[in-house]
């Protein structure tokens, strides 16, 4: 690993370290050198992956980018920073350290040793779970590939690329599991992960939200905040899996997800900060801080931010699937997929006799019913997720409060704009009021971004490639990445990229 005078050496890892063979083309802690099957599989797959990255990865040409590369799984080893050309980014394979004592913590196999191999009984289900998870990782790269052209700063551009390469690595992680544990079928599925493309009419990505266009940076931030957070929660349930390699893979991926959350949280926060600042200035000058005026001042109107929020939250809620799901119950009972923070739950971790309440819509109102807990595990996870989402909104509102504004952002009701589950065939307002079709049609433009809203946001999306400068619609961050200054040269654009 090279270092240079500007960046200084990487921090010394302080946690437990795995031995990693740097000489490998594929950094790993899975004994790739000693595993003939994996070598063959991955070496065949890697060129296809690089090909995919070149074709569908970030479109903006760059020389190199200040990126974090996982080089070890210890506490600090996974966060090594350096300027690297993106195509030379070392997509490695890392699993969290194995706990040889680990036992299964839930379901019918509770208390048995965790599985180091796939039990044949669960091959199909496990493969499905991994494929669905794996499918989302490259999808977001595809969705975001042209965003570099309108980056509000070099700092943000770097964050985008960091998210992109890590999504690529997460794809690697899932592909590793498919190749290492699922034989020929696994290899075929791994190839399919590269053949499906976001938004492709013939071969779209599996989940709906990953076929939506990422039109602009506000949506990118919303995506990383809300949709990547779904990924975090899904990984959290797979981290509990009885299949130990999957659990360890996901545990390590979760560390990287934290950065994606950070990009989303602070990205929206800085957007809101800038908007609040502009609104405050307008009002201090005696003006009306309405949408059009805010827009004229080069910031994104607060109600447009709210609409983006409404949209991204609702489509991300759909990713959790139906509230009641036989599959989810089976996955849990079989030990394939646990609950968020399974170890901290104070119950029997088997759930055969437990129930919970669930909302549903009947006769124009929201009612509640008792359902078996095992049938409602998707809902359990979604509730955890929604509660987490609310934290960020509070943080964003702090910016409004600091600017002494009355306006606030809010999460819409769980039933708002839903296409999946009990709310799917009903219209609910963001406040949770059940609406008839006509009312919905009349009001929907107030709640979800219209093409005009997106157009307005797009008009503000002009690239700012000068180090330390930021586009007018977003506030600079308080600090840079890895203790570097905000104006640090995080990205060196290729010559043609600057022009």
């Amino acid at each position: 690993m090279s270092t240079d005078s500007r960046t200084g050496p990487a921090p010394s890892p302080t946690g437990p370290l795995s031995k990693i063979d740097y000489t490998e083309r594929i950094p790993n802690n899975v004994n790739l050198a000693g595993d003939r099957r994996l070598q063959r599989a991955l070496e065949a797959w890697q060129p296809k992956f690089l090909d995919w990255w070149t074709t569908l990865g970030p479109a903006l040409p760059t020389k190199d980018v200040y990126l974090r590369t996982a080089i070890a799984v210890g506490r600090d080893g996974w966060a090594h920073f350096d300027h690297v050309p993106m195509e030379e980014y070392r997509w490695g394979i890392f699993l969290a350290e194995r706990d040889t004592e680990r036992t299964i913590s839930f379901g019918k196999h509770k208390g048995e040793p965790a599985w180091q191999e796939i039990p044949g009984e669960h091959r199909a289900d496990l493969m499905r779970l991994i494929v669905v998870q794996g499918d989302t990782e490259p999808a977001s790269v595809e969705q975001q590939r042209i965003l570099g052209n309108t980056a509000p700063s070099i700092y943000d551009l770097r964050n985008l690329f960091q998210v992109n390469v890590e999504e690529g690595r997460h794809l690697w992680a899932m592909v590793y599991l498919l190749q290492a544990y699922f034989g020929r079928e696994g290899r075929e599925e791994a190839e399919q992960l590269l053949k499906r493309n976001s938004g492709d009419l013939d071969a779209p990505r599996i989940l709906g939200a990953f076929n939506e266009e990422t039109t602009d940076w506000l949506q990118f931030f919303m995506f990383t905040y809300f949709t990547d957070r779904d990924g975090k929660y899904q990984l959290g349930t797979l981290k509990e899996s009885a299949f130990d390699p999957l659990a360890r893979t996901c545990e390590f991926m979760l560390k990287e997800e934290a950065h994606h959350m950070f990009v989303g949280t602070t990205g929206v926060q800085r957007t809101v900060e800038r908007t609040a600042q502009v609104m405050k200035e307008i009002r201090e000058k005696g003006g009306t801080a309405d949408a059009a005026t805010v827009l004229q001042h080069g910031a994104i109107p607060l109600d447009v931010i709210q609409k983006y929020l409404n949209f991204q939250f609702s489509v991300s809620m759909d990713l959790f699937g139906s509230e009641q799901s036989t599959n989810a119950g089976n996955y849990y009972s079989s030990g394939l997929k646990g609950r968020w923070q399974e170890a901290r739950r104070k119950d029997d971790h088997v759930l055969l006799d437990d129930t919970r309440t669930m909302n549903y819509v009947e006769d124009g109102e929201i009612r509640q019913k008792e359902v078996p807990m095992l049938s409602a595990l998707n809902l359990d996870l979604r509730d955890e997720y929604a509660a987490d989402c609310a934290n960020g909104v509070r943080r964003w509102n702090q910016e409004l409060e600091d600017a002494e504004l009355e306006e606030r952002l809010a999460l819409p009701h769980e039933g708002f704009n839903r296409k999946v589950g009990v709310y799917a065939h009903h219209h609910l307002s963001p406040e949770g009021e059940v609406l008839d079709d006509a009312t919905w049609e009349r009001r929907v433009g107030d709640w979800l971004p219209s093409p005009e809203d997106r157009q307005a946001v797009a008009s503000l999306m002009v690239p700012e490639y000068e180090y330390g400068k930021f586009a007018g619609w977003i506030a600079p961050p308080k600090t840079g990445i890895n203790d570097q200054p905000v104006e640090f040269d995080y990205v060196h654009l290729a010559e043609e990229g600057v022009a």
Binding site: R36, R40, G120, E121, R123, Y181, G183, R184
Partner: protein
């Protein structure tokens, strides 16, 4: 559960007597009432259980192999005015569902074997029904080529299962009445619902029996018919092959026979079966083959497989997956395979051939998942390839196990004429034709490959294996496949496999093992038969069955 042994000998028979008189043999049923295989019932009125049928199977086999001189076999009753009352009802009533089903399967196979002797050994079976033949008793007679019923004013043939027991005559009765004896369906309907059955004249008129003969002419007429049948026979040979006890050893969970080993893995609910190829070249001629007798490799393999299949089916119902491998020299297998065809005119080789055919048919109707694993060192060639083709799936290693024996020769399989009709399934088709049912091009393509050694790639290309995988994937794939299989519903698997295995035309056999058996097995689990108030349970209590009259 009682461990059932299929080894017996005429000297140890408790229920049958086997008399050979020149070219005619007589098997007489005189069931020892107290000779039930398991406690809990008396075998009254010449009724039978599995133990009785194991002796019958032994007699059928011995007649074929030990008695080349026998060209007609008379089956008759050894009790006064009672030919056979069929399967013992108390035995059925107390048996588990699995036991009943396995019992019916074995008895069906034995009756098919009797027909096979008539059709392929020049050993014609005649039923001398010298007393009442009820239910399974009449079904025994139906397996014979001719049925003669004594005309004594009282003896009848009957199928009383429906009216008395609320179940079916499940050992081929319904099927053979209409399909083999061509009894008109309305008469068959009358017959199968009239508990006491029909006496001579009606029985002859409807085709239920061929003739009815008074007692005074009985022996002469039976003898005349037996000698007439014998005169038609082309069976030749003077010295038989004594069916000596199988050299079977049981070592914990390993069963060893000459050329066949089975390892029982109870945790995985699986049996690994390995069939060894021959160690020496075949004998030069038919005389040499006969001289080897039970040690003749194809015969030894067949006897071992037959016994293994029967034992596993009866004694190991939890072991739901059988993995079949072979090991040996392909050239030697080819030599034996060719010899079976070349010496087909020899009575003994002919018997071996048909015995192997019947044994692989047992696999076809076995309610276990069958998986063939084809690796370096295997010899799935000709007749042994039939074992793989009988399996539900075939996995073949492409190349060799690099970490174990990189210098080994990759596995090949070889189709021969044996795979092209010599060993038909119950549906009358070869396993190859069944495999490519509806794909005549593929069948023709495979036929063009006869005699060629096909490596994994070629075998996969020809559609002869399910999957060809290299060593990197192979072991793990097999492990996962077997675990996956073991996790599925055994009932659904049995039904699924039975449906997939038998494509194409229906025959008496496929109807018996498909339609008749499936209906019977459904009826067996219904409360109308097996519930506390069901007809089967109440039989003999003085009360009739109490039915739920809703049609399903």
């Amino acid at each position: 559960m009682t461990e059932v042994d299929f080894d017996t000998h005429p000297k140890r028979y408790r229920h049958w007597r086997l008399d050979v008189d020149g070219e005619v043999a007589t098997v007489s049923l005189a069931v020892d009432e107290h000779g039930g295989l398991v406690p809990g019932y008396d075998l009254k009125m010449n009724s039978y259980d599995l133990g009785v049928d194991i002796e019958l199977y032994d007699a059928v086999q011995r007649l074929r192999f030990q008695h080349p001189e026998v060209k007609a076999v008379v089956m008759t009753g050894g009790l006064d005015r009672m030919f056979c009352a069929g399967a013992n009802i108390r035995m059925l009533a107390q048996s588990s569902h699995a036991w009943k089903v396995n019992f019916c399967k074995f008895t069906n196979e034995t009756r098919n074997g009797i027909e096979d002797a008539t059709d392929h050994s020049g050993q014609t079976w005649l039923a001398a029904v010298n007393g009442t033949a009820a239910g399974g008793g009449y079904e025994l007679a139906l397996a014979c080529e001719e049925i003669v019923l004594v005309d004594d004013g009282s003896s009848t043939v009957s199928l009383p299962e429906v009216p008395l027991l609320g179940v079916l005559p499940g050992t081929g009765g319904l099927t053979r009445v209409v399909d083999k004896r061509h009894v008109r369906k309305d008469r068959a309907d009358l017959f199968a619902t009239k508990a006491e059955g029909y006496r001579g004249d009606t029985a002859v008129q409807w085709g239920l029996v061929d003739a009815t003969v008074p007692k005074r002419d009985w022996d002469e007429e039976i003898g005349r018919r037996a000698h007439q049948a014998a005169a038609r026979s082309t069976r030749s040979g003077s010295r038989g092959v004594e069916l000596t006890p199988l050299g079977r050893t049981v070592d914990g969970d390993t069963l060893r026979y000459p050329f066949v080993t089975a390892t029982l893995d109870r945790d995985a609910r699986r049996v690994d079966v390995t069939v060894e190829g021959p160690t020496d070249a075949p004998p030069a001629d038919a005389a040499g083959v006969l001289a080897q007798g039970v040690d003749y490799w194809p015969f030894a393999v067949t006897r071992a497989l037959d016994d293994l299949v029967l034992r596993l089916r009866t004694n190991e119902p939890l072991l739901g997956t059988w993995v079949v491998r072979t090991h040996g020299d392909t050239d030697l297998v080819l030599a034996y395979d060719a010899q079976l065809a070349d010496l087909a005119g020899d009575w003994f080789v002919n018997e071996v051939h048909h015995y192997y055919k019947r044994t692989v048919k047992r696999l076809d109707v076995t309610s276990r998942s069958l998986i063939a694993v084809i690796e370096p060192g295997s010899c799935f060639t000709g007749l042994l390839l039939e074992l793989a083709l009988a399996c539900d799936r075939q996995y073949m290693l492409e190349g060799v196990y690099e970490d174990v024996d990189p210098a080994a020769d990759p596995a090949t399989i070889t189709l021969t004429a044996s795979n092209d009709g010599a060993f038909p399934m119950g549906n009358g088709l070869s396993r190859l034709a069944s495999r490519f049912w509806g794909h005549d091009d593929d069948l023709e393509g495979a036929r063009k490959l006869l005699g060629e050694r096909l490596d994994a790639h070629a075998a996969e290309e020809a559609g002869l294996v399910t999957m060809a995988l290299d060593d990197i994937d192979f072991e793990d794939e097999i492990r996962i496949v077997l675990e996956e299989r073991a996790s599925l519903s055994p009932d659904a698997l049995t039904g699924m496999e039975a449906n997939h295995r038998f494509v194409g035309p229906e025959t008496v056999e496929t109807k018996i093992f498909g339609r008749l058996t499936a209906w019977q097995n459904w009826i067996f689990v219904r409360p109308n038969a097996s519930g506390p108030d069901g007809a089967l349970r109440r039989y003999g209590s003085g009360q009739r069955g109490d039915y739920d009259y809703k049609r399903v």
